[in-house]
């Protein structure tokens, strides 16, 4: 019989509260990541009907914006993360985006990309997919790419990445319904993704292999062990502290849950 400890609640709710995101009942939490100036805010506005200010310059979204929409009767809270080129924590923005995806554990992360310079955007997609499986790629500004005679093979991209890819033009409201539906299906587990894993040089892969089993044991599936292993090798002190914090809370809440049942 499972008992639930009310004093500590659900660990995920805890983590989300840190980001000021309220999780109620079976609401879904969707994160919106992407390079700067790819139209994240435009997508955010189109999905939520909110009017966050948009602008054509990198770094527009300095505040983490939140909104919500309802799909198939289910409320989705959508969080507009700051635009970043990577998740390697070179700047405060990158730390915010990475921590949210890593510890906030959104039900789905949409990575918004610019169809006119996809290659630059792929780095971020690959890095997001290292942290979470639940990814939907949105190839935005597809109309602009067409105008510039750039062709993006959406189907091939989806096969390469192992996650759904949707072409959109947020400004012209093209592809948004498909995006929402796909996001919902991934969030609710109707679409299972199989993200492409980055294969590193032998030396690095070797180091990962050494660490992974120990980590798996410790992380108990809370975080992706390969990703954490990489960060350990990299010596990302900030993240290590954050992981300690996170695990401290999570594990103590599981501990609490188990203890309750032991007591009965």
């Amino acid at each position: 019989m499972a008992h639930y400890c009310h004093s500590c609640g659900n660990s995920k709710t805890h983590a989300l509260e840190k980001f000021n995101v309220k999780k109620e009942g079976d609401n879904l939490v969707i994160a919106l990541a992407g390079n700067p100036n790819t139209g994240k805010s435009t997508i955010f506005n189109a999905l939520t009907g909110l009017n966050q200010h948009t602008g054509n310059w990198p770094g527009k979204t300095v505040l983490q914006a939140q909104g919500s929409f309802i799909i198939n009767g289910q409320k989705c809270t959508i969080v507009d993360l700051p635009g970043t080129y990577s998740l390697l924590a070179n700047s405060a923005d990158e730390v915010v985006a990475r921590n949210f995806i890593c510890f906030g554990k959104p039900d789905t992360t949409i990575v918004v990309t610019d169809a006119t310079c996809l290659e630059r955007n792929l780095n971020l997609i690959l890095q997001v997919m290292e942290i979470t499986d639940k990814v939907v790629v949105c190839v935005n500004l597809i109309d602009e790419a067409k105008r510039k005679e750039i062709e993006v093979d959406i189907k091939a991209l989806s096969e390469e990445l192992g996650v759904p890819v949707i072409a959109t033009s947020a400004r012209k409201k093209i592809g948004l319904n498909e995006l929402i539906n796909t996001v919902h299906q991934v969030a609710s587990g109707k679409i299972l993704t199989n993200p492409k894993i980055i294969v590193y040089d032998q030396e690095i892969e070797g180091a990962i292999k050494e660490l992974e089993p120990q980590l798996e044991n410790l992380l108990k599936g809370e975080l992706n062990s390969k990703w954490v292993a990489l960060r350990l090798i990299e010596g990302d002190v900030l993240l290590l502290e954050a992981i300690k914090d996170y695990l401290g809370e999570t594990l103590s809440s599981t501990e609490c849950e188990v203890d309750m049942s032991c007591a009965r």
Binding site: G55, N56, P58, G59, S86, L118, L122, K148, E160
Partner: protein
């Protein structure tokens, strides 16, 4: 076993940390990045097809907009065009609003007479609150409603990052971050927004410089004051069509002074309090995009114009009442406002202002929008009742109270350089988490403005120009 001790993780982390030296970490990170990029490239090659010999229009436009020879003139030209449209376009609606709002005042007065309301009530409500509101709306609304959509167009089209690119060199020489020109541009809308925008600057040192100097670009609370005073005193000295052109040059001049002061203070800070070398960064020039006209108008009118106006109105209403009371409660043969203004007057005169002007700036701390209205109310309370239904009437009021071209110039400079409003200061507090920097964010501009006005006014006196 019910639980796992988290200390195990600490141990594991420590073990690994001790194994990997810093040098090893750096090369490892490069390898990681390199691996990721290579795979991105491989995928992109498979799925993206680009035209072979396309004309790179963005590149061609960029060559024009960011070259050393054509970049700056075009920048000034665009800036000039925006302000010219604002000044030219704001004239007529401003006068129309004055007429409308002041005929409203007459109606209200009649209504109060009809009710037999006491004089003080009429004074506080009509001459204080209503008049304060009317001035704020008439002075602010038209320029904002024109300026904001134009500015948003520049933002949407992708021109702002080009400005940042052009100015990068100057900011670097000043020991500041190139992205500061972006945060500076945001300050044109609102300094509080500009201060928040400073988050895009990663280095804490350069971020602080950007925060402390954001005040030197006029926010929309101060813009209308600059525009009104330029139109009256600098444009007014000449006949149309030269009047608007000269007013335009005055406004652009003020902006350039603001930018130069920004650079000088940034330089000063990077040599004293915030020593260091500018960090390098890559500024991405986004593709040009056709702005969405409808979006731009809705965004700029609702998000900015109405928002800012409401904020001003919220401050102007109580401020109007307070100023009226201060101007009508007498101690001896002088009102409280008069006493206060008299007390400040000797000092104010040294820097080319007068007691009422300085009082207005002090009472206007919560929002710069209400500085000009407070000045007007201060003058009106002392002198005879005037029918203030146009810019011409405003000019008469100011001239009657001893304003000269030098006074107008001093007020404009003080408005441009003095301390930011309380909202901005609170934002600085929130962003820096430090009382020291918040106080400095107020004190540095105040010192700069007093020094500039002192040197200007006393210098001119020395040469016999007054």
């Amino acid at each position: 076993m019910c639980s796992i001790k988290t200390s195990n993780i600490n141990e594991l982390f420590d073990q690994i940390a001790s194994k990997t030296g810093d040098k090893y970490k750096d090369s490892l990170r490069d390898k990681l990045v390199d691996n990721i990029y290579r795979q991105a490239e491989t995928i992109a090659k498979k799925v993206v097809k680009e035209p072979k010999n396309k004309i790179d229009w963005d590149g061609k436009i960029d060559n024009l907009l960011t070259s050393k020879i054509t970049g700056y003139p075009i920048m000034l030209l665009i800036l000039g065009l925006v302000f010219w449209i604002t000044i030219e376009g704001a004239n007529y609606p401003t006068d129309a609003l004055y007429n409308l709002l002041f005929s409203g005042e007459e109606q209200l007065t009649r209504f109060f007479l009809f009710l037999g309301a006491p004089d003080w009530l009429h004074g506080v409500v009509v001459l204080g609150v209503y008049r304060g509101l009317a001035w704020v709306i008439a002075v602010m609304l038209p320029p904002m409603a024109i300026f904001f959509p134009l500015f948003t167009l520049l933002e949407d089209s992708g021109y702002l990052p080009r400005v940042a690119f052009n100015l990068d060199r100057f900011f670097r020489k000043a020991g500041a971050h190139g992205k500061q020109s972006l945060t500076m541009s945001m300050g044109f809308g609102c300094n509080a927004a500009g201060v928040i925008a400073c988050r895009i600057i990663e280095s804490p040192r350069e971020r602080l410089i950007a925060i402390l100097t954001n005040n030197f670009v006029p926010c929309n609370g101060r813009f209308p004051t600059l525009i009104a005073l330029s139109s009256i005193f600098i444009g007014g000295a000449l006949v149309a069509p030269y009047s608007n052109i000269s007013a335009l040059f005055a406004v652009i001049g003020m902006i350039l002074v603001g930018i130069v002061v920004t650079l000088l203070v940034s330089w000063g800070l990077s040599k004293t309090l915030l020593k260091g070398v500018p960090s390098s960064f890559t500024l991405e020039l986004p593709p040009y995009r056709k702005p969405q006209i409808g979006q731009v108008i809705v965004r700029s009118i609702f998000d900015r114009t109405i928002f800012v106006l409401m904020r001003a109105v919220k401050v102007a209403a109580p401020a109007g009442a307070i100023v009226w009371i201060l101007a009508n409660v007498y101690v001896g043969d002088l009102s409280l406002l008069g006493h206060f203004a008299n007390f400040l007057d000797p000092f104010a005169r040294i820097i080319g202002l007068d007691g009422i002007i300085l009082t207005a700036f002090i009472l206007g701390l919560p929002a710069n929008e209400i500085v000009l209205p407070i000045m007007i109310m201060g003058y009106l309370a002392e002198g005879a009742m005037l029918e203030l239904d146009s810019l011409a009437a405003l000019q008469k009021l100011l001239v009657d109270n001893g304003w000269t071209l030098m006074t107008a110039l001093s007020v404009m400079l003080f408005s441009l350089l003095h301390y930011p409003c309380t909202t901005t200061l609170l934002t600085v507090k929130k962003e820096t988490q430090s009382m020291k920097w918040t106080v400095l964010a107020g004190l540095i501009p105040l010192t700069v403005s007093v020094v500039v006005l002192f040197v200007l006014n006393q210098g001119l006196k020395l040469f016999g120009i007054d």
